[in-house]
Symmetry: D2
Subunit: 104 residues, 4 copies
């Protein structure tokens, strides 16, 4: 069963913990740029492994070194804690520094 | 150096050899559907290996079991023989039967 | 916690349900051959997604179109139901026909 | 056609440029360790893309976070410049610092 949809102040608070991500069309959105196609694919495979483990999958596109990601939970009709968790994982895979505190 | 842009009767003839592909926005376009996310990723990663070998890369997106592909050659401003070749490879990877005759 | 180690008649019964697999050095063993390196990698990457989802990973090697797989459960000191389940998944990914009956 | 086999002082000079690699059984050998299975697979996919582009493929094995690589050129009966080139690429993908000077 999907987790409840995040909204209002709670969603805003979560977004502040996700530098680089924005809310577009009701989805968590981010564009990643890599050195080249090989690095972009390396990111996508590692992200796919995490997504399959979570059973929560991204909407995403790739053109050479760019990967654009949109995260939403269809069953909940919006952004949920699963999207926030996947967003945090993807940021880590792409090389963002881990936050000093807060949930891992 | 990019191969020349295909147009007119030549492009139409090539399209007839590529069942499932259409011309959308000046690009070779096709949507593939797979059994699940694992099979969709299996397709994308094999396609990535072929694309990297050809040094000719797709524009593509994925949502769970669907992969939408658009092929164009930016340096040529349209569809070239490289796009046709990549389209044929992708069809083969996705399980289309190989043509009985014609260029491999 | 690891599932219990299979042995004796129970292990033999499971092996009979896994055509192509043998017991070597106390591990479920099989060699897969594919058309080429691209197909071998496509198999490994799809298998990796399944393995990560199961949190149960293979010991495996690759040389061009060949992939050799050994499955064991270190915490149990031998072959467990998790290895049997992963073996069945890998066979399916490699194109073995699904069994008509029996556990999926 | 395969490049000529490297031997003697030439091979030793090349090995000195490849920290972490050794000669074992007439092959360039190295064990890589990563944070986890996801990172190991990310390395293998990126390495596979480079290998397919070079049309020069590794002999390698994986157990969870470890990837053991052996490089040789079968047609030449030993280590060639292609193996050295692939070894350098793999080191770069695994995060080794690039050499300040010398061939890229």
């Amino acid at each position: 069963m999907a987790r409840p949809r995040l909204a209002g102040a709670e969603l805003e608070a979560r977004l502040r913990e996700l530098p680089g991500w924005s809310l577009e069309g009701g989805k968590l959105h981010r564009e990643f740029r890599f050195a080249d196609f090989v690095e972009a694919m390396g990111f996508m495979l590692r992200a796919a492994l995490v997504a399959e483990r979570m059973n929560h999958h991204p909407e995403w596109s790739n053109v050479w070194n760019r990967v654009v990601v949109d995260l939403t939970t269809h069953d909940a009709g919006g952004v949920t804690a699963s999207d926030v968790e996947l967003a945090r994982h993807l940021a880590g895979l792409a090389g963002d520094p881990r936050p000093v505190s807060g949930p891992s």
